[in-house]
């Protein structure tokens, strides 16, 4: 079992009446709500929290990409990843990831990820999401009808750029480059492990199976709603004759742990409500640009009656009050033993070997985030760490340089 400490970097000062006064946290959020001097402190505290998680023994620290988004302050996750590459020792650096179709040429992604892999001594996990409609089609103006084709083409170019020693020409449908020859090259050979954060699309499942990439389901709505999607993934894997190795999958879960359940309920209510009320206030008009979802996926969803596990449907059915957040398992709350038991069940039920944990969420401050992180690492992680390891090998984890051959950054950088 692997534990990845994930930060969304939410802006923590959205006003109390945000939902009433503002139609959307995303795309056209009012920039006058953004105070750069407050953001200076937020960024530094968030980076402290990620570094603290690495010190506490989490297997990886994890960042992702959002644009024009009040709950995700990382338009460039690579900037944060590069500072973590210096300031952390053994933890993997999971960039989950870069939305490939947004980069022209996408060799930029190949270069930056190779840089992070070099700086970190081979600790990078390379995440390649298509990206949400809000990020890609609206904030970044990409055509929804060509987004996926561009994404697949960018992927092909990046893999070829990482693995081909010779300078080559790339003549794609969307990308033309006469001289592809990235410099630097990644430490990990043939390339860093590739993880694909995705919704519930059949094509993505098949593609992950074919390419042997990790499929990550990043839902904000917990294990109860996530179960249908993960079941769909494993059923597709079985149809394709792939073994049910839990490390072939990742799953995101919010967790709040305290010494007792009563204390946890007291501590985590406010940040959870902040997240589900203010951060997920997304205007539904940005949910489904025409052409973003393929006809095959629409047919599959309708015909198989799979609950459409997309952000849109999640938001539509989303609960915001505290009791519903708890009852629906959006956030797992409790004392250490209770949380460990629930997570054991989640991991076993969903057959997931990579648990991506949001232990900072909403407007949670650094002190509470670090308390949550420390308690989790000391009292929850140990009892779950060996789960799956008797049967399965994690073939999708970074293959870093041995610690003794790695550079030692100056103490001040740590």
């Amino acid at each position: 079992m692997k534990f990845l400490w994930f930060h969304l970097m939410p802006y923590t000062d959205l006003p109390d009446d945000f939902r009433e006064k503002h139609p959307s946290v995303w795309v056209d959020i009012d920039s006058r709500l953004f105070d750069p001097q407050r953001a200076h402190h937020m960024y530094n505290e968030f980076i402290d929290e990620l570094e603290f998680a690495a010190e506490c023994g989490f297997d990886a620290v994890c960042v992702n990409e959002h644009h024009s988004n009040g709950y995700g302050l990382m338009p460039s996750p690579n900037l944060i990843a590069s500072t973590l590459a210096r300031s952390t020792g053994d933890a993997a650096i999971c960039v989950l990831g870069n939305s490939l179709a947004l980069y022209n040429p996408p060799t930029r992604v190949a270069e930056e990820m190779a840089m992070i892999d070099c700086i970190s001594g081979g600790r990078l996990i390379a995440g390649f999401p298509v990206g949400t409609p809000m990020d890609t089609c609206y904030a970044y103006g990409q055509n929804p009808s060509t987004l996926r084709e561009k994404y697949y083409e960018a992927h092909d170019l990046i893999i070829k750029a990482w693995t081909t020693p010779e300078t080559f020409a790339f003549n794609g449908r969307y990308i033309q480059q006469r001289y592809v020859n990235i410099w630097p090259r990644p430490v990990q050979k043939p390339h860093p492990p590739i993880w694909i954060p995705g919704g519930g699309s059949v094509e993505t499942w098949r593609w992950c199976a074919k390419m042997d990439y990790v499929y990550c389901y990043l839902s904000y709505f917990g294990y109860k709603l996530g179960k249908a999607t993960m079941q769909g993934f494993w059923e597709e894997m079985e149809r394709l004759g792939k073994e049910p190795n839990p490390y072939h999958a990742g799953f995101l879960q919010f967790v709040g742990v305290a010494d007792t359940r009563e204390e946890a309920l007291k501590l985590y209510r406010e940040p959870a409500e902040y997240f589900y009320d203010r951060c997920l206030n997304v205007d539904p008009r940005f949910a489904s640009p025409p052409g973003y979802t393929s006809e095959a996926t629409i047919r599959a969803k309708v015909q198989s009656q799979i609950s459409a596990a997309s952000i849109r449907d999640g938001i539509k059915s989303m609960q915001r009050d505290w009791q519903a957040i708890l009852d629906n398992g959006y956030v797992i709350i409790g004392g250490p033993d209770e949380v460990a038991e629930q997570l054991r069940q989640v991991a076993t039920d969903l057959n997931v070997g990579h648990l991506l944990l949001l232990l900072q969420f909403g407007n949670m401050d650094k002190e509470l985030a670090q308390y949550n992180t420390r308690l989790f690492s000391e009292k929850v992680m140990p009892s779950l760490a060996s789960l799956f390891d008797d049967r399965w090998e994690d073939r999708w984890w970074p293959n870093a340089m041995p610690p003794e051959s790695r550079a030692q950054p100056r103490a001040e950088a740590r």
Partner: protein
């Protein structure tokens, strides 16, 4: 990847009204993929390229026009009855596909009506191939971008709000897209989504196809019709089209009609078109 084709409308079943007989239907191939061509009436051919959403059904305007003219309505790639929008990557691809479609439908040198999305492409064909079009009718054409009155982003709207955006009376759009008895529920829905996707492929994100660079090449007599209640593009854009087109132009407002004036006011639009074509 190309989805397999599912039948959408058959002759006789396509008509909106009970007593009307529908158009005849045939398919032509554009880039190896089928595009539906509907045809009805006698006399000189009159082409029709539809607006947002295309033609899931034979609409009242075409029924009316077909009493006077041989109306031919080819479906643009991705529009109801047609595939292949996902093969079109550039403006050149779109414009060539439109020209090929008009030729295959038997509309070379014919009068041509283009509404909304269809208007943007009809204007391109008239600009680039002067002999392809005889007289041109543009109904609230897209393709220009005016920073002072930008196109409403109809690709970013709350679910179920499209009808009230494109028609002054949403019931007119609802009637066009309402699933007829016997039509497959999933495929009927996918047909609408595909049409929206095709329009997005051409127009994303601002609706600016750089048509402005080519409008001056249009030497045809051109009628510009615009619904006074257009909530997608301001009727004031008619002046910009008129000023840029070098042929003789005429602007006529359609009172009370929305962006798809052909759906809101088929009689007024039909009268204006037939008067213009009868006179010029």
């Amino acid at each position: 990847m190309v989805a397999e084709r599912h039948a959408t409308g058959k002759p006789g079943t396509a008509a909106g009204g009970g007593a009307m007989s529908g158009p005849t239907e045939r398919n032509v191939e554009i880039g190896g993929l089928p595009c539906r061509v509907w045809e009805k009436g006698e006399g000189e051919p009159l082409g029709f390229l539809a607006g947002i959403g295309g033609l899931p059904k034979w609409p009242p305007l075409l029924e009316r026009l077909s009493a006077d003219r041989r109306v031919i309505a080819p479906s643009l790639p991705g529009y109801p009855g047609a595939l292949g929008h996902d093969q079109l990557d550039t403006q050149l691809d779109w414009v060539l596909a439109t020209r090929d479609l008009l030729c295959a439908a038997g509309l070379e040198g014919a009068d041509l009506i283009g509404v909304s999305v269809g208007g943007a492409l009809a204007a391109e064909v008239a600009a680039i191939w002067p002999t392809m079009v005889r007289r041109l009718v543009l109904v609230a054409p897209l393709g220009l971008y005016d920073p002072d009155q930008p196109m409403t982003d109809f690709f970013a709207i709350a679910p179920k709000t499209l009808p009230q955006l494109v028609c002054a009376d949403p019931a007119n759009y609802d009637a066009l897209v309402e699933r007829p008895e016997g039509a497959d529920e999933v495929e009927w829905k996918i047909q609408q989504i595909r049409a929206a996707s095709a329009a997005a492929r051409l127009l994303w994100p601002l609706g600016d196809t750089r048509l402005a660079k080519r409008l001056h090449r249009i030497g045809n007599p051109t009628l510009l019709l615009w619904g006074t209640e257009d909530r997608i593009v301001s009727p004031r854009l008619a002046e910009k089209f008129s000023a840029a087109i070098s042929g003789a132009t005429e602007i006529q407002a359609i009172p009370g009609a929305g962006h798809l004036a052909d759906l809101d006011a088929p009689d007024a639009v039909g009268d204006a078109v037939l008067t213009f074509l009868g006179r010029a």
